[in-house]
Amino acid sequence: MNRLAIALVLAAASCTTTYDYAPTIAGNPEGADRAPRGKTSSQFVRDVYADLLGRSPEAYTFTVTSSGVTQLALPVDEQADLVTVLDGIGDGLPMRNLLVNGLLHSKEVTIADKASVTDPRAFIRQQFTRLLGREPNAYELRGFADAWSQDPAVGPRTIIRAIIGSRAYQSQ
């Protein structure tokens, strides 16, 4: 009875104008994967500096001395200069990988020796979380851990390089 009364009240109060809305879709259809879009060179440089060095790219002067005398004072803009390098190649991924390798050998980054990592799985999980913002799934964790144990070339730096080189990291 109450429902009927409410319906009558609403009907009496309703306006005469009705609206048709076009159907809309929020997000991708269920089950569809989101097609990633690549990071620009600029985005990549900022991200990798933050993730590996914990700082933003900076501008400074690189100086070369010999016998205490300055031979060269070179203005460097890390962001702009590296973007120029990366934009000079159509698919910048090979150069990105190379720059990351250089950063991981730099004075600013300390990478643990493979032998000093007592729990490789924990290290792998930590890097996934740090760089991709998620845990590795079981398949990924097993694959990375197996490579760690079986391939002498796989160590802490390789794990980081592999994750940063991935489409997941290279995507916006």
């Binding site: 097609a35 159509g90 990988n97 250089g102």
Partner: protein, 479 residues
């Protein structure tokens, strides 16, 4: 040493601690399998606009003696050519050039002296867009402006299944030119793009310095070596395998992504190539002094010009990847907008660099027997000067773009095993619906290159379907 010269030469020569070892021989990998004709084409576009008057006409002296010798090859601009007429105030720094060839290259191939860049704006992007597609275009100068018809790279890859590393675009200039590596054509596009490389942007010593984290370098210190990016092929391969595992769980990049994404195998090969260059502590692999072309420095070393560095790395790419298609954009002559003498000097350098490239090809038996090289200006320059920076001879800068005969009268030099030798021609009476020039045109040069690769039919079909006038194969050029 200023930043500009540093970017060109690195620290070489700054101090005794800097090694200057010669370039180690580059390892050669087997070329990726591809169903090609086995022939190769290189299109060298002298970008920036080069007039007939100064090149073949030699009105200011023999500026391109390696290509054309020292006697004018077209009438009307002078009867005898001596050394290039460089105003005294523009002679420094001196050019470093090898002695000119005893026999100019035009005698080894075919020279079309009356080619016409017949349509479209005589602008850099449009001119090179034409050289890469055979299509007179009006591309906007935007970084995302792609050609509407397939490029030579896409045609080749789509028809042969060749990997991207079989088709290279090596360009002095970046920016908008990067977009020329792929078209917007729905049946082609970035999945058939070639490899774009801009040596002056990529191949420079700042990258290893920046990523090293070093902000000072004491050349006298025990560890005073130049920073490098260490190369470890085993680690590279291991990282790539793990990356592949991750990528197997990640969707492919969106088809509408503006960035070209090459196959993993192509990128692995390119990365190995770059790793070799950047792991060299002398930085000589970024530009080897043995190339011998550039500007003289007070310490007797060579500053590479952008054109020289580009040709040097084009040779490295040829040696390692042995592509079927390569396009090269030179641009140093474009200094002519404000520096007429720089324009003449850049012609000398481009001439020497192109001859060096041809000699490099001839020294490699496989490349020698399979490579056709076409050299042509992207367009010319105006008939009149712009008054910028007049020199002591009263000559000033020259622009391009308004489309007068100076802008549109160009030439083409073709060399290779399928090209007629000692053949200087200026055909007229060439007819085709829509062709007003009555001459062979820039689009014909591109079509002739495509015939060498067996893609002329496909290029004709695509251009016709788009409503564009396709170029003609130039039979007078071919053996």
């Amino acid at each position: 040493m200023n930043r500009r010269s540093f970017l060109k030469t690195g620290l070489a020569g700054v101090g005794a601690a800097v090694a200057t070892t010669a370039v180690a021989p580059y390892g050669r990998l087997c070329r990726a399998a591809a169903a090609t004709t086995g022939k190769r084409v290189i299109i060298v576009g002298i970008g920036g606009g080069l007039r007939l008057r100064e090149s073949l006409g030699m009105a200011e002296g023999a500026t391109m003696p390696n290509l054309f010798g020292t006697a004018p090859l077209v009438p009307g601009f002078g009867t005898a050519a001596g050394a290039p007429r460089i105003a005294p105030e523009y002679k420094a720094p001196a050019l470093v050039l090898p002695a000119p060839r005893a026999t100019p290259l035009y005698t080894q191939g075919t020279l079309v002296t009356n080619l016409r860049y017949a349509d479209g704006p005589p602008g850099h992007l449009q001119g090179h867009g034409c050289l890469l597609s055979g299509y007179y275009n009006k591309l906007e100068n935007r970084a995302d402006a792609h050609l509407p018809v397939p490029t030579v790279f896409e045609l080749h890859r789509q028809r042969t299944g060749a990997p991207a590393s079989d088709a290279w675009y090596v360009s002095v200039i970046g920016g908008f030119y990067r977009a020329l590596i792929t078209s917007d054509h729905p049946a082609y596009g970035s999945r058939f793009a070639g490899v774009y490389l801009q040596p002056p942007g990529v191949m420079q010593p700042l990258a290893p310095i920046i990523v090293s984290g070093q902000r000072t370098l004491d050349l006298g210190a025990a560890n005073g070596a130049l920073p490098t990016i260490p190369s470890n092929p085993a680690e590279d391969a291991a990282a790539a395998r793990l990356t592949g595992m991750l990528d197997g769980n990640t969707p492919a990049f969106a088809g509408t992504d503006a960035t070209v994404h090459l196959a993993d195998t192509d990128n692995a090969r390119i990365q190995a190539h770059l790793a070799e260059l950047y792991s060299d502590a002398s930085y000589d692999r970024l530009f080897s002094q043995s190339f011998g072309i550039g500007l003289a420095r007070p310490d007797h070393r060579i500053d590479p010009t952008s054109d020289a560095r580009t040709i040097y790395h084009a040779e490295r790419v040829l040696a390692r990847f042995r592509p079927s298609v390569m396009a090269i954009t030179l641009l140093d002559v474009d200094t002519c907008h404000a520096d007429f003498n720089g324009y003449l000097r850049a012609q000398q350098l481009a001439d020497a660099a192109v001859a060096h490239l041809w000699d490099f090809i001839q020294a490699d038996p496989e490349l020698r027997d399979t490579t056709t090289m076409l050299v042509l200006p992207e367009h010319g320059r105006h008939l009149d000067s712009n008054g910028n920076n007049p020199d002591s001879y009263g000559r000033s800068g020259i622009d391009h773009g308004k489309g007068d005969d100076g802008d549109r009268d160009v030439w083409m030099l073709a060399l290779g095993p399928d090209i007629k030798r000692n053949n200087v021609i200026a055909p007229t009476g060439i007819s085709q619906p829509g062709r007003g020039s009555g001459r062979y045109e820039t689009i014909d040069a591109v079509m002739t290159a495509m015939q060498v690769l067996g893609h002329d039919g496909a290029m004709t079909s695509e251009l016709t379907a788009y409503g564009a006038r396709p170029g003609l194969v130039i039979p007078e050029v071919m053996r």
